[in-house]
Assembly symmetry: C2
Homo-oligomer: 197 residues x 2
């Protein structure tokens, strides 16, 4: 097996390049239009090769969305050593930056959520659940009492943030700093609205 | 043509019943699993009849989601005569009640948003846009200054509310009054977070 490693590396790299091209293609088209044919054409390779690597359009979608999710989660991993509010600020800054730098990756997640394939939706759902856990941790560490409604509010805020990121970070000229400040104010406001004043 | 009306009424009613059955079926299954065969079986009619009425699974999904959307929008139509905050309270109360009374209808909208069919997603998107306009109108009438960010915030709050409705109105024992109060507090908090304090 070891002797095969060098020869297997090239196909692995080729496959990774094709996946990256698939993710990037989602900047200007919905997930369902990403076919093996289209990707073969963009990559300048045969449809047969695409079929060899991915097997089906559905499998291609799953690997594209999973790759997008993992790269977003890695890029926005909270810095545990920071105090809660600084950690929130830092994480949000990296999310906004990531969304602006990797539009295709972010769209593949937004559009993965709108996929007809339950497995693709599940991949996206896991990312949302993890982002919600990260935000919930911030407020619990600050001493906000844990409750079912706090968790519902912050999970729902993740849906809010996804929408707000598309609209503000991608569709306006707002500075990254202003988008981050708005997201920070909104999540604090939502957490504060859990219990009657 | 007039002479045909009575004979045509029965098929129209039959078709409406089939659509209602399709909407109801979405309480316990995703949209993509709603096939002509399944609906034929539940309705105790032939697959041929379903095909005659709808033509394809995709066409069935479109009519089911459009019907769900229209019935939700009708049931939650704001009472224009009420002052803004009372109107908001009244509309939110009817939304929570509607979600609880018609789980299948609400799920068909949430699941329609997760459809692989862009036309189905567009049907749902129109409802969200209209709900956002209703909420924006409330805050503008109360004298909140109009801005791009206010509109982004309140459109994003509609995504928040959709998630919060599934989680709180359907998955908890919270009273309708408590769900409504939480939604009211959250939307005011989000509108208030648009500009730095």
């Amino acid at each position: 097996m070891e002797a095969d490693r060098r020869t297997r590396l090239a196909p692995d790299e080729r496959r990774a390049q094709l996946v990256a091209l698939g993710v990037a293609a989602l900047v200007d088209r919905p997930l369902e239009s990403l076919t093996l044919e289209l990707l073969a054409e963009r990559a300048g390779v045969s449809r047969g090769l695409l079929f060899y690597y991915f097997g089906s359009k559905q499998a291609l979608h799953r690997v594209v969305v999973t790759t997008a999710r993992d790269s977003m989660l890695r890029a926005t991993e909270p810095v545990r050593a920071l105090p809660p509010l600084d950690r929130l600020h830092d994480t949000l800054t990296r999310i906004v930056q990531f969304v602006r730098d990797h539009e295709g990756t972010f769209y593949s997640l937004v559009r993965g959520a709108a996929s007809g394939d339950p497995e693709v939706r599940e991949v996206v759902e896991q990312a949302r659940a993890l982002q919600a856990e990260r935000v919930i941790a911030v407020f619990l560490e600050m001493g906000v009492p844990d409750s079912e409604l706090l968790r519902i509010a912050l999970r729902s805020w993740v849906a809010f943030a996804e929408e707000a990121l598309v609209e503000s970070a991608l569709n306006t000229e707002m500075s990254t700093k202003d988008v981050v400040s708005f997201l920070e104010r909104s999540v604090k406001a939502v957490a504060g609205s859990v219990h009657p004043a």
